[in-house]
């Protein structure tokens, strides 16, 4: 039963992916619209299932790698929805669905049973810290999706070209959003660590790598703003940034020992 939290949204996002795929083949706006409806419905169902998991476990579903991956895929659709609502982008649905599917598929590699919380995680800070940092990762993952699309479709395009310019601006917006949420998550984790252990910074590998990732994006943003690294150059920076995010999220847990070995 507990695997439903990932399996049902997986099915709905897969259906959305297929519908988006058909919309590309037949060049139909209505198919695209149906794809977005399915994506939105999948997100609503995923939200409901996460709340159900929360009720069953008696704690927020954010205590291990499986659950944080669920939040990450949820965050990707949420950020896409926000960007979709505030702009008129319409060609990224296929890639967003693919991104969420990939995240949910990787969740299936981990234990999906609901385990009780270890002492350090029994705090409301768990909810705030994990959700904010996961939304940050989601925004940066979405920026990387846009960077990929940019490099495939507009690699040699002039930024005066309307579509290339719009995608470049949107990619930057996703990066700034991810940058904000990432530091928000780091700050919440830092305040939590001070409440739990009396130290807001311990140079724990996970902490350090999230700072490395955040600093990398700070450098990328400064390169764009002051050195004019826009378009394809910025897209490459964003793709490299995703490698930092992935290492901070996965690599640290498996390769380095620290306070976040459960995450």
């Amino acid at each position: 039963m507990t695997a439903l939290t990932a399996n049902v949204p997986f099915g709905m996002y897969l259906a959305a992916l297929l519908v988006f795929g058909v919309s590309y083949v037949v060049s139909s706006a209505s198919w695209k619209k149906w794809g977005e409806i399915l994506l939105g419905a999948g997100w609503v169902v995923q939200t409901a299932l996460m709340i159900w998991r929360w009720q069953v476990g008696g704690r927020p579903p954010m205590a291990n790698q499986y659950e944080s991956l669920l939040v990450l895929s949820w965050g990707v659709i949420l950020i896409y929805g926000c960007l979709r609502w505030s702009t008129t982008i319409s060609g990224l649905g296929f890639w967003v669905a693919a991104c969420s599917l990939l995240i949910l598929a990787s969740a299936s590699l981990f234990d999906h049973s609901i385990q009780p919380l270890m002492p350090a995680l029994q705090s409301n800070w768990l909810l705030y810290h994990v959700i904010v940092i996961m939304v940050g990762y989601a925004a940066l993952a979405l920026a990387a999706v846009m960077a990929g699309v940019y490099l495939v479709c507009y690699r040699n395009a002039n930024l005066k070209e309307e579509k290339a310019k719009a995608l470049d601006a949107l990619m930057f917006r996703a990066v700034t959003l991810g940058f904000l949420f990432l530091v928000g998550g780091i700050i919440l984790g830092s305040v939590w660590a001070n409440e739990a252990w009396g130290s807001y910074w311990s140079w724990d590998p996970k902490e350090t790598w999230s700072l490395i990732t955040w600093m990398y994006y700070a450098v990328a943003i400064h390169l764009r703003r002051t050195r004019g690294w826009m378009g394809a150059r910025f897209a490459w920076l964003v793709l490299v940034g995703l490698a930092f995010v992935i290492f901070t999220y996965f690599g640290v847990n498996f390769l380095l020992v620290g306070l976040h070995s459960y995450a």
Partner: protein, 334 residues
């Protein structure tokens, strides 16, 4: 010929350059990556690492002052936030006190130190006494008994057995009756009776009666699986599965110089005690030493400065993200 004023200006321009920011950031990134891969080098405590952070702070101040007319409010606020965090971290480093108290039940302490690498030692103006320490668990510990036949090759496991019950081993003529559980097995030499040294499962043992022909009683030890097996027709092993620790808690008292109790509180992880500017955090225990609790003690005047920086940084970045921009709105990508 270059005047002193020109030279000072050149230095100032260098300090306020973005190239310096990129260089310092690059060096810090490399240092932090190496620091996580080789923690034994303790890079974050080296003078040059503090120098890089200090250089970044100076560069940030210079950049902000040098470009104050051009810089936007949100960016200015964000950079002030970063400077406040660095300033707070310096206050922590210089004036912060931090130590660790390892106390047995009934014991009191007033001085706590860290390992040799950190000179900071806290001398409390009062004593802290550990009145009581205890563990809370999710559910109960479980016992499993495994039987393996030496010649026939089969293995059967009886999961979650309970004292006082009899279990038929499926597909075999054997029956197992669980008679007694002792968490910390010992033999009292005076009375020659079996006793438990403590309630902590340091040497968990299970007394079972194996009904075959004839019925034999045997003590099984989770930590010493081979003991008392010689006379049995099958190998019998006992597995002790401790319940997961839910929380560990300490009841602590603050005792004044006159010996009177000034304050009493129960602390656990995420629930520290604050007294006289010091904060006491439940940080650890030793499963091998029942009644021992490790309490971290901290007094950090840098925290308010760092927290102010956190708030200011978040405000600046939020204004930056959510300010009105017209670059990506009303554009179509398809």
């Amino acid at each position: 010929m270059m005047t002193i004023r020109n030279r000072v200006y050149e230095v100032w321009k260098g300090l306020a350059s973005l190239s310096l920011f990129f260089w310092l950031s690059g060096l810090l990134l490399v240092a932090m990556v190496v620091g996580t891969l080789a923690p034994q080098w303790n890079l974050y405590r080296q003078w040059w690492f503090a120098g890089l952070l200090g250089g970044l702070a100076v560069n940030t101040v210079a950049c902000v002052i040098h470009r104050w007319k051009a810089i936007r409010w949100p960016s200015l606020i964000s950079h002030v936030g970063i400077l406040s965090i660095l300033a707070g971290a310096s206050v922590t480093l210089i004036w912060g006190e931090r130590g660790s108290l390892a106390l047995m039940e009934g014991e009191a302490g007033e001085c706590c130190g860290r390992d040799a690498q950190q000179a900071m030692t806290v001398h409390l103006p009062f004593k802290v006494r550990l009145k009581k320490f205890w563990l809370e668990h999710y559910g109960e510990a479980k016992h499993a008994v495994r039987l393996a036949h030496r010649t026939e090759g089969w293995t059967k496991t009886l999961e979650s057995v309970v004292v006082g019950k009899q279990y038929a081993v499926e597909g075999t003529p054997y029956k197992v009756t669980v008679k007694q559980f002792v968490p910390d097995f010992m033999i009292d030499l005076a009375s020659k009776s079996i006793q438990s040294r403590s309630s902590t499962p340091r040497n968990p043992a299970l007394l079972v009666a194996l009904e075959a022909s004839p019925t034999q009683e045997v003590w099984l030890f989770a930590k010493y699986p081979g003991m008392h097996q010689e006379s049995l027709p099958v190998e019998v092993a006992y597995e002790y599965r401790p319940a997961q620790v839910k929380q560990f808690k300490s009841q602590v008292e603050v005792v004044g110089e006159d010996g009177k109790v000034r304050h009493e509180q129960t602390i656990w992880v995420n629930q520290p005690m604050k007294y006289a500017g010091y904060t006491f955090y439940q940080s650890g225990y030793d499963p091998e030493k029942p009644g021992l609790s490790v309490v971290e003690v901290a007094k950090d005047p840098g925290v308010p400065v760092v927290y102010t920086g956190f708030g200011v940084l978040l405000i600046g970045l939020s204004l930056n993200v959510f300010r009105k921009r017209d670059d990506s709105r009303k554009e179509k990508i398809s």
